[in-house]
Amino acid sequence: MSLDRIKPHLPWITLLVLVAIVGGADSNFLKPHNLISMVADIMPLFIMALGMTFAIYIGGIDLSAQSVANMTTVIATVALPTLGISAAVVCVVAGLAFGMVSGFITTRLLVPSFVSTLAVGGVAYSLAQYLSGQRALYMDATLRDGSFGWMVGKSFGIPHEIFVGGVLLLAMLFLQTRTTFGRALKAVGAGELAAVASGLNVTRIKVMAFALSGMLAAIAGLLFSVKLSGGSPTLANGFLLPAIVAVLVGGTPLTGGVGGVVNTLIGTLIVAVIRSSMLYFEIDATMQQMVFGIILIAAIAMTIDRSKLRIVK
């Protein structure tokens, strides 16, 4: 009984335990400056994971997120000189559109999201290569600071990325818990048939979930592009698997309907801490990936609430 009560809290307990372990090994890790900087750096990944949460929450997955982010780094960089801050709008709209296409293909054409998003990601990647002329581009520093400086500055010692991520988290949390859309999303994730039988437009809700995922992937790409002051069709490579891992470790399983955006925040931070721990424990370079995998298994074994999984597939 008491274990049941602990279960929902396991993700953040895991996070605290990990922080304590790394902090215990090297107190430098616990310096506020370091923790803040770590959180700020993980924000683009977090924002992508935030979007991924919605796709996974309805029992799907969005493998196009990384390519969409790649594409928006290019769009942001290419569009900045002519459009200024409106480049952001173009990025967000593009992400939204790609997400909607994924959603449409998944729901209407009945292609599993694993394949449909991978395919749509291919289109985004091609577009990124075409727009960039297949090379890495950089932003003019003054133009960047003029339009997007607010994204990457610092106030009260806190990098603005954290505010960007925080605002998005709050917005998505609000969306998830307080709006009809969030409620519908939960219904679709936990009981799709019942949602249909309640007259919900399940197709539209799913398309919107994928659209949100695409939009947040685009914002992740935009933020990363601004942070790095440039764009390239491969800039966001390496985001996809950590983003998925972050969602899963946070306790949103692929079966849908369980977990949510706060879990994803915790999951992302767990990923960040595990990654840093490699440095703090001076894990040999050739061993890091294996150790990461093993810790990951342990973390997932800890954090998933199996009582919500009917059968484990």
């Binding site: 292609v111 395919a119 291919g122 799709e192 899963l248 061993m287 093993i294 990951l296 074994a301 597939k313």
Partner: protein, 321 residues
Amino acid sequence: MNGILKREALVKWAPLIVLLVLILLFTVLEPRFFSVRNLARIAISSTPALMVALGVTFIIIMGSIDLSMEGTVSVTAVVFAFAFLALGGTVLSWAWLALPLAILVGAVVGFINGLVHVKLRIPSFMASLAMGFVGTGFALLLTGGDRIRVEDEVFRGLLTERWLGFPVMVYVAALFLLIGWFIQAKTTLGRNFYAVGGGEELAHASGLNVNRVRILGFTLAGMFYAVGALMAVGRIGIAETATGNNFMFMSITSVVVGGTALWGGIGGVWNTLVGVLIVNVIGNGMVVIGLPGYVQDAVLGLLVIVAVVLSTDRKSISFVK
């Protein structure tokens, strides 16, 4: 009833029709596409992918998923190469033992993968994803990042020796395809995969040891990944940590394109053969007709969607995730 039969037949053959249409399309655009030499090229690039895809087919039939193939392929390739060189470096010496050893290693990795999934009760997506990291990491640990060359002429005969215009590896792959079909159609284990995929709880209630079937499934998949690894090494002559790269998305895409359903219970090895060929025909065809590199990802994506749409039995599914 007749109508239903027709529809079922159409859906059943749809992937093959898609494949034929694609071949026709590329042949019209570039007649050289349809030459024995090019078909052999497609076959060569398909063989490692086919072996990996066969392995994951069994897992997908069970309604699970396996994302560990990249790690498993790398580990088995590297272990094989080390053992092969240590034992003499040519198939004609004791080094041939490295071949069964590689398959054994694949089985062990798959077995561990299955154990983690079943015993720790972690959904296969997550368990195998993490095990994939462990596998790649282990391969890296073994090689320290070096590539190991396997130069043995006899082993490389897989690629260089040709019968009827096709290299030996294609025939070896065909043999393993038949083994896969045999397991699927003629053995209890193979049928049990379908039972688990069709209704796990029901299968359990019928007295089936579902956990055992699952673990065996992952073990079997690991063995096929190992064969895929051997093919990959045979094709390039190099074993390295990166040998497993790109197998994950491609093999699962191939399986789905072939008409095996991700929710389990439907499909099989022939579907996977067709799926792998579709993906490789598209890949080869795009280069052959001279499509610029930067649009190839988009075209591949669009064609894959078309292929899946055409080969999905839309009446039989209530919803797709």
